[in-house]
Structure formats: C-alpha cells, structure tokens
Amino acid sequence: MTMEHRKMIDDRKIKTAEMANIDLTELPNVTVGDISVENPRMTARQVQVNYGDKVAIQDVSLDIGSCEVISFIGPSGCGKSTFLRCLNRMNDTIKSCRVSGDIRLNGDDIYAPDVDVVPLRARVGMVFQKPNPFPKSIFDNVAYGPKIHGLADNTGHLKQIVQEALERAGLWSEVHNRLDDPGTGLSGGQQQRLCIARAIAVSPEIILMDEPCSALDPIATARIEQLIHELSSEYSIVIVTHSLQQAARVSKRTAYFHLGRLIEVGLTDKLFIKPQHEMTNNYITGRFG
C-alpha cells in the first residue's frame, strides 16, 4: 500500500468522525468484553500505531488463542487491517509507520530490536485480499517458502511438503496433474487456496487473513470458509472481514474495532445476539458505520 493510499484512508477516518459528530476522545478507553484467553498464542498490549503524526490505532490489547478463529470487524478505516499487519510486522514495509506497545508470540516480543522478521513471518503467515500467487508454476509457488527457509531435507521431501500443503488447502485434487502450469492461470477461488497452501507450506502457527473472500464469488467463499473451519484444528486464524455474516459464520471470537480502538471483543454467538456495547450493537445492526 502506498503512502498516498494510507493518507487517503486517514483522511477518510477523520471525515467519518466529523460526519458522525464524534469526538474521538468520547470513545471508550476500556475494551468491553474479555480480551484474554487461556494459553494464548499471541498477546498484544497497549498497541499504538502512527502513520506520521496521524494515529491509526490506539491502546489496543487483545489475545489470540491457540487453534481458534477470531475475526476483526469494523467500518472502513477503523484500524483492523493495520492491527492485523502488526502481528507479522508487515507494517515495517511502510516507511512512516511507527508501532509501539507489546506484542508477543509465545511470550517472545516480536518487536524486540534483535528480532529478525523473516522467521517471524514464517511462523505468522498471511493471506491477502486479492489473491496474489507468484508468477511462477503452481509447484514453485508452494515450494518457494520451504526452499528459502530450508525446510525440506531433499527434493523428494520438498515434493511431499508441496503435496501436503495443497491437500490441506483443498486444492490437490484439482491441480495434482498440472503442477507446472502457471499459478496465475487458476480461477480466483483456486488462486486464493493456492495462496493459503503457500502460507501453510512453511508450517506457521498463526495464519492472518485480510479479507480473503472479498474478491470471490459465493461458492468460492463457501469453500474458503469450509477450509478455515478445517484449518482451525491446527492453526490459529485471524480474519479481517467486512462481512458481518462471514464473521458470524467462521469465527469463534469477534473483535469490533472503531476509529482505531478496540471497542468490544467476545464470543461470536453471544456478541451477535446481545453485544455488550451500544456501538457494537449499532454497527452490527446497520445503524452506524
């Protein structure tokens, strides 16, 4: 994302607040609901993200549990994608971005000065909004990660890794006989599953998904949601989504963000029947957003 794009988002945020006559200081200082879980995989405390002198996220604390699916919802520009990208330090690629706060993966601070982002990103994988397979063959797409991280003992092992990743992503049966075809030649839904296979191939602990289905048709979306359900027995999955119904369908916990703050977090079924905070209620019923 370019700087101009970020700036546009920030300007929109300010405008939205103005339009709604909200004073940003009116927002709650404390998140409603239980932010912590038992045996969390990742913990975040008092995270703040600035782009230049604009504040994108303020005082966000949240736990990501083991083998759970948690969804981030909220209106455009609320900071959910920004927070997601903090978890695997993808925000490092944006020059004006400064992240403060404590984010830990299995207890280790991921923003410590001596931390190398490369292995971090192998343990915290990411799937993006628009499917972005490498312009290489299907095999090379999945094999790239294991190759550069040296995960395979030999060529045969590499082939097995690729096969298993594609199987877990539900794509093997469709591509096993054409692994040398370009990855970009697949349909949108297949490409996204290829990207998921690519993320799985490096054996992550957590998979971050930034609106993975927004570019897909309903059938492809349903396939991915089924896949998320299957994967959640092995991996923690954090999914940012614009679709409330998708959050309701796939996630066990839901976190509602608004204008850079975490307003409420709770079990999805409870939250969608009776949210604790009025702002959450207004957002998910469509009164405000």
């Binding site: 020059k95 799937v127 990660g145």
Partner: protein, 434 residues
C-alpha cells in the same frame, strides 16, 4: 419546456440534446482523425524518400568492378627467400607479378602505356595476391585466373560518373586507360560483383579497398564494453534507488541529477572522457575501452530511469506475497521483483544501446576518428566505430566513397535492427512467464 430549469436534466431532454450534439462531435473527431492520418502519411512519405535515397545510393555500394586476368604466380618474384614467410612475401614483388600479367593480357608496350595500364588495378591487389599465396602455397608456379579490384577512378568511369565526353585534361582517366578498359570489357574480363572489400576491408584512402570491417569490430568491442559496464551498474543503481535507499533528501537529489543527466548532450560525455581518462589518467586515445566507458556514462541514465520505471511497475502485491511468506528483502528483490522487471529493464537497455551504437560526437572527442587501418584485436587496440567511419567517408572526395558511405549506412541500420530484434526476442522469452 422550461429552459431556465437548473440542475440535472431529465432523461428525455438529455437524450434529445445528446443526439443533437453527436453531429458536431463526430465531425470534430473525423477531422482529428484525418489530421492524424495525414500526419502519418507525410511522415511515411519522408521515411520512404529517406529509405529510397539511401538504398538507391547504397545498394550499388555493395558491388564494385573487378577484372579477371590470368596471373603467372612466379615463385622467385613473390618469394625471394623461398621460405614463404610474410617477411619474404613483403620483400617480394607481388605488384610486379600482377602488372606483368596485365601487360601480357593487354599487350602493353612502352612506359606511358605501362603506366596507364598499371593505374587500372587497385593497389589492394598485391595484398590479395600475397595472402592468396601465403594461404595456399601450392599455387606457387601455377597460372591462375584471379580477380582483382579495379581502381576507383576506373570504377567511377564504368558507373558513368566520369564521362567519356569530358576533355582528357579534366578527366582522372586518360584515353589510353579508356581504351584498355574497353578492350577488357569487350573480352568480358570486367566483372561487376559483390564487394568483399566493403565488408572485409578496413579503412583506406583508396575507395575501392575501403571497408567497414575495422569499424564494425570496433563498434562491437566498444558496445560490449559499454554494455558490460552500463547494464550491471545501471540495474544495480535502479534497484538500490527503488528498493533499498531511504527516502530522504539525498536520494531525491541523486534522482534529480540522474534524470537531468539523461538530457545532457552526448558530446559533453566525450569531453569528460577526454579530460578525465585521457588527460588525468593518461590512458591511450582512440581505444574501444575508453569509448565504451564514455558511452556507458552516456547510457547509464537511460538504463537507470527505465529500470526504475520497470521496478516500480511490479505490483506491490507480489512483494507483499513474498515478504508474507518470509522472504528477506534481498530475496524478494532477486527472486521476484527483478525477474518481473527484467523485460522493462531490457527495453531500456536496448534503447540505450541503440543510442550508443549511433553516437559519433563523444567518440570524436576521445579521438576515435583517427585513421586506423588495422582491425582492433582487443579493447586496448586503437579502433574506430561505424558511425565515425561513415562520418569520415562522407568527407572524402572520391566518387566511390559516396556509394560506400550509403552502403555503410545500410549496414549500420541492419546492425541496429538485428540488435533490436535479438533483444525483443530475449524480452519475449522472459515475458512469457506472466
């Protein structure tokens, strides 16, 4: 209908008004198209005129007149010491051998007649004979029918540029020579054939012996040096500026300067090369190495700018995908960004090389205009390049040089087109990945 209505027009009225505006809009577009087409036609016409004139003048330059005579390959005369070394051959009298054969053919007696006959054949003939004998000593002592180039004045006469009607004292050929020429022609001994001199000969004051070989090799050497310097440095600079350098004031200043350098007249780079490499470092003039360096300096901005554009054109989604899977910045650049940017980088390089191929001014400044007869064997041998050779030939007075100049231009164009074609093929092969 209320004409003072403000705001959005109702669909019905809109339909009417749009229909009404169509005629005028279409007319404007038709005029514009007509203008465009006529501009193209004019450009095409000029192009055709240009090519026709080049080819009209140039094609004849690929041919020249030869004479075929029987030659007694006299061993003693050619190889006085008898050991067939070059020294011996050069000490020998190849010219005499050829002349005697010619005199025999034409039945020439008398000194002035002999002089006339001698002027018929090019001075390059003796080198040919020496080379022939050196390569194939078994020809010694035999009589062979050999083909030798005719002197350029004879050639011009045969082409009709020197006219019979002109008074003898104003002509470059005297009547006796014309007489001999007519006789040889009548016997069918004069041949109009493809000029091997043009391709394989080097610089020479004799037009019939002049060729582009030396300049051609010089161009190849110079361009190779240029490519080997400019491409890696240019690509590496582009990568550094786009991917690695922090976005601060210094980087901005570097960028501005590179962009400006692309517009600097090329002769300035020649002056730079002259002052720095030749003046300060004391390197020899006129060598392809210096020429290549100067051209590299000139081409670098083009390569850098187009490579940067190619790198910028790589969608950020590919970078994010690579980073997301745990690739380091270097791995992202080398495994993903560069392969995708390569077609664009190559395009920039092709453009730069094509420019460099045709550059004359900077090379003149560093002295690659010297009259070099020998073909440069390495980048440190003195040499010249094709455009400079053409430039020099354009200066000479002899009529034959006119044709050869146009022929050399055609060769230069062919060289350019081949280079471009090769590069396009390479680029297409790399683009297939998408």
């Amino acid at each position: 209908m209320n004409d003072t209505a403000k705001g959005l027009v109702s669909p019905k009225i809109a339909t009417e008004r749009v229909a009404a505006s169509m005629a005028k809009r279409k007319k404007r577009e038709r005029n514009f198209q007509r203008l465009g087409r006529s501009a193209i036609a004019v450009a095409l016409a000029f192009l055709i005129v240009l090519f026709v004139s080049i080819f009209a003048k140039g094609i004849p330059g690929f041919f020249q007149y030869y004479v075929e005579i029987g030659v007694e390959i006299d061993r003693e005369k050619l190889d006085p010491t008898g050991d067939l070394t070059l020294q011996s051959l050069y000490a020998g009298d190849a010219r005499g051998v050829i002349r005697s054969s010619l005199y025999a053919e034409l039945d020439v007696e008398g000194r002035s007649d002999k002089r006339a006959a001698g002027k018929l054949i090019s001075q390059g003939a003796e080198q040919r004979l020496r080379k022939l004998v050196y390569d194939d000593p078994s020809l010694m002592g035999t009589k062979q029918t050999l083909r030798f180039a005719l002197d350029d004045d004879v050639d011009s006469f045969l082409r009709g540029f020197i006219k019979r009607e002109t008074p003898e004292k104003d002509r470059r050929i005297n009547d006796k020579m014309i007489d001999y020429i007519d006789r040889l022609q009548a016997e069918g001994k004069i041949v109009y054939a493809f000029s091997d001199y043009l391709i394989f000969g080097s610089a020479s004051r004799n037009p019939e012996m002049a060729g582009i070989y030396g300049a051609f090799i010089g161009s190849i050497l110079t361009l190779t040096v240029c490519l080997l310097i400019a491409f890696p440095i240019g690509v590496a600079t582009a990568i550094y500026l786009e991917e690695i350098a922090p976005k601060n004031r210094i980087t901005e200043i570097i960028e501005i300067n590179i962009n400006n350098l692309a517009a600097v007249p090329s002769v300035v780079f020649g002056i730079l090369g002259l002052a720095v490499f030749i003046g300060i470092f004391g390197m020899p003039r006129s060598i392809p190495l210096i020429g290549g360096v100067v051209l590299a300096l000139m081409t670098l901005p083009t390569i850098i700018i187009s490579s940067r554009a190619a790198i910028r054109a790589v969608p950020p989604s590919v970078r994010e995908a690579a980073l997301g899977v745990g690739a380091s910045q270097m791995q992202t650049i080398f495994h993903h960004v560069i392969p995708l940017a390569m077609p664009g980088m190559l395009t920039g390089t092709i453009i730069g090389m094509a420019q460099a191929l045709g550059e004359t001014a900077p090379l003149l400044m560093i002295g690659m205009v010297a009259f070099i007869v020998d073909v440069p064997g390495s980048v440190t041998d003195p040499g010249t390049v094709l455009p400079v050779q053409i430039f020099m030939w354009a200066d000479f007075a002899e009529r034959m040089f006119v044709q050869k100049t146009s022929a050399a231009i055609i060769i230069l164009l062919a060289f350019l087109i081949t280079m471009n074609a090769a590069a396009i093929i390479i680029r297409k092969k790399l683009e297939r990945r998408w």
